[in-house]
């Protein structure tokens, strides 16, 4: 695996994705005890997870368009929450 720094985002931008990341982790924890027969919780979880994933992907799409980071087929970007650095990770 190859990891290369390709850019950086502003602190408020990093805070936005970190909040979404933590929310997604929380929802994934909740999913461990969730089953489809729990109708109320199922509806809420699916809605919340759908929105969170959509915002998460939207952040990457927006930032990629704004900063024009280097990309590669088969690769993906990662962010370091401590430094706001963006890395291109190649398998």
């Amino acid at each position: 695996m190859v990891k290369k720094k390709v850019g950086q985002v502003a602190v408020d931008e990093k805070n936005e994705i970190q909040a979404l990341f933590e929310r997604r982790n929380g929802l994934n924890e909740l999913a461990k005890i969730l089953t489809a027969d729990n109708a109320d919780l199922y509806e809420k979880w699916v809605k919340d997870m759908g929105e969170t994933q959509s915002k998460f992907q939207g952040w990457w799409d927006r930032m990629a368009a704004k900063y024009q980071w280097e990309s590669h087929e088969g690769g993906n970007w990662e962010i370091n929450f401590d430094t706001c650095d963006i890395y291109l990770v190649l398998p």
Binding site: N28, A31, L34, A36, Y42, V46, M49, G50, Q53, S54
Partner: protein, 314 residues
């Protein structure tokens, strides 16, 4: 890594690939199974693709499906809301008018494909993307290979003219290879799995809807793909060296032809290489008119049609 979950909503959900659906009686996926499948997909962060039967679903199903991001694969009989529309044979194409952003899958036997370049061009006027799936590729003979080569050249000529007129139609058999720089195959059992109405997971819809398939776990017991590495390209001794990047490398056809999920039969390899070579000619032809896909490498000339024939060189 699994990225896609295909959910068959009914036993009679439309086939969008090489296999024919042997199941003729309706059996709708229970609503609780559908919800549990969606939950599984979202927990695993999978893109969900719903495959529809040729009848309208109960409203409660629509409400559950519309609650999440998804792709709808639908038969021509019920095209409303489709992202991917499946048509069986030319007859189903006649009355069809595409909505914006709808891809089209045309399934047909070789006899209906040969010599029909004009019809292909006409269909490409109606959709931005056409995926042609030959439903009997495993029966190709030497004469069929020659006919296939001719038909690809005929369609390529029409595509060249379309590109010269500023259009950019996509036809999987000819334009995908021009854009690709690595294998882009079916990925069943590797990048995608299928959930059937019985609540079990399958390698792909064919492993449920056609004869002789097997399950790879269930919603109740979890996913269990035995020898999962055998579905991956890096464990495919022939395909990992191949550059017919557009090849379907259909896992179901592989197993049918060679009893190995990871090894295609001769017919699939030759057909894919005829497509590759026709793509090469198309790319060269378009580039004669000016700059085209400047960041893409030329497709090199090769002297074989079945990688098995040159296995010792690899």
């Amino acid at each position: 890594m699994i990225q896609y979950l295909v959910i068959l909503l009914d036993d009679t959900s439309v086939s969008f690939c090489h296999y024919g659906n042997a199941k003729k009686e309706r059996r709708l996926m229970p609503l609780e199974t559908l919800k549990a499948g969606i939950l599984f997909g979202m927990k695993e962060n999978l893109n969900i693709q719903f495959v529809y039967p040729a009848y309208a679903l109960p409203e409660a199903y629509d409400a559950v499906i519309e609650g999440i991001d998804h792709v709808k694969i639908m038969p021509a009989a019920t095209p409303e809301g489709a992202d991917v529309l499946v048509m069986n044979g030319w007859k189903e194409c006649e009355s069809w008018t595409a909505g914006a952003g709808v891809s089209c899958v045309l399934r047909l036997p070789k006899a209906e494909w040969f010599g029909q370049a004009g019809r292909v061009a006409a269909l490409l006027e109606k959709t931005e993307r056409l995926n042609v799936v030959l439903t009997d590729v495993e029966t190709f003979t030497e004469d069929d290979f020659k006919a296939y080569e001719r038909s690809l050249a005929e369609v390529a000529n029409l595509l060249e003219k379309a590109y010269m007129n500023g259009k950019t139609p996509q036809l999987n058999l000819l334009t995908d290879r021009m854009m690709l720089e690595q294998m882009n195959n079916c990925g069943a059992g590797d990048t995608n799995i299928t959930l059937a109405p019985d609540g079990k997971f399958y390698v792909c819809p064919a492993f449920y809807q056609a004869a002789g398939g097997y399950a790879i776990g269930s919603l109740a017991e979890g996913l269990e793909i035995k020898n999962a590495q055998l579905y991956r390209l890096d464990h495919a001794p022939l395909c990992r060296h191949c550059d017919a990047y557009q090849c379907r490398r259909c896992i179901w056809l592989n197993r049918k032809a060679t009893l190995e999920v990871n090894t295609p039969g001769h017919e699939q390899c030759v057909a894919a290489h005829l497509e590759r070579n026709a793509s090469r000619q198309l790319l060269l032809a378009i580039r004669k008119h000016g700059t085209f896909l400047p960041d893409k490498r030329e497709i090199r000339e090769i002297d074989y049609l079945d990688p098995f024939d040159v296995r010792k060189e690899w």
